[in-house]
């Protein structure tokens, strides 16, 4: 399969930033395993110190801040813009909000949201009557 480029989706974050920089929606993959919900978000240019994950009530917010680089060089051509990342999700209460893990590698954020005990599938034994 040939990979196609897509234009980064720009968003207006809920609160304005104190500095002027475009903000983009990171592309995400969200999948569910037996024990957890996993969010993978593409945030190229963001390192560990630039990630901010915020959880308030059921709203999970991901922010990624790219390290600003001096652009004093002569631009030959430009096909993409750099900026911060922002996206938020509403979590169902099936998530154990105290057990959320985050890691970032090669510009991809991985959030592991452990499922709450009550949401896990349970085998129910059928007793002979």
């Amino acid at each position: 399969m040939e990979l196609q480029s897509t234009v980064k989706k720009q968003v207006e974050p809920k609160a304005e930033l104190t500095y002027s920089r475009p903000v983009f929606t990171p592309a995400v993959d969200i999948y569910e395993t037996k024990d957890a919900l996993v969010v993978l978000a593409d945030m190229p240019g963001v390192d560990q110190s630039g990630v901010d994950i915020h959880l308030e009530e059921n709203m999970l917010t991901i922010r990624g801040k790219v390290a600003e680089e001096a652009v004093d060089k002569d631009v030959v051509y430009s096909e993409y813009r750099t900026g911060d990342y922002y996206r938020s999700f509403t979590l169902s209460n099936l998530i154990d909000q105290n057990r959320i893990e985050a890691a970032i590698k090669d510009g991809v954020l991985k959030l592991t949201l452990a499922k709450a005990e009550t949401a896990k599938p349970r085998q129910i034994a059928v007793k002979a009557g």
Partner: protein, 151 residues
């Protein structure tokens, strides 16, 4: 001639169409003048940004999730070739996807360099999913300052 009922302009559906058109034109202009992201029409992956100074050409591409070993960079004459395969599949068994937005697949892109470069001295690194190339310009294409002598 068909008779069309006169309507107050604000009720006309065409207004919505017009504003949409205007929106599109604005985006087009913004892109042209560098405000928007100017992704090449062909949609080739990855999009790149190229800058230069007197001695070097700098090239950047966003390749999230790709380790240095996954990207193949070749310089052939005045062309730079970026190749790789981005995989987004996960190792865990029995997963069910809720969303799949991250693109996966192979890519190969040839970029014509604006000037001749010294391929042997080219440097490449990836950091946080961003590939950065520093290509030194060939001696003959470097800008030269000409001293003006006082006669």
């Amino acid at each position: 001639m068909a008779i069309i009922r006169w309507r107050y302009p604000s009720e006309m559906p065409a207004i919505g169409e017009l504003s949409r058109l205007q929106e599109e034109m604005n985006t087009l202009f913004d892109r042209f003048f560098g405000k928007g992201s100017a992704v090449s029409a062909a949609g080739v992956y990855p999009p790149i940004n190229m800058t230069q100074d007197g001695d070097h050409i700098y090239l950047k591409a966003e390749l999230p999730g790709m380790a240095p070993g996954d990207i193949d960079v070749t310089i052939e004459d005045d062309n730079l070739i970026l190749k790789g395969n981005r995989k987004t599949d996960v190792a865990e068994p029995d997963v069910s996807y809720h969303r799949r937005e991250r693109g996966a697949g192979s890519f190969s892109r040839t970029i014509a360099l604006p000037v001749r470069v010294v391929a042997d001295k080219a440097a490449a690194e990836t950091r946080n999913g961003v590939l950065k190339l520093v290509l030194p310009k060939a001696e003959e294409v470097k800008p030269k300052k000409i001293e003006i002598k006082l006669s």
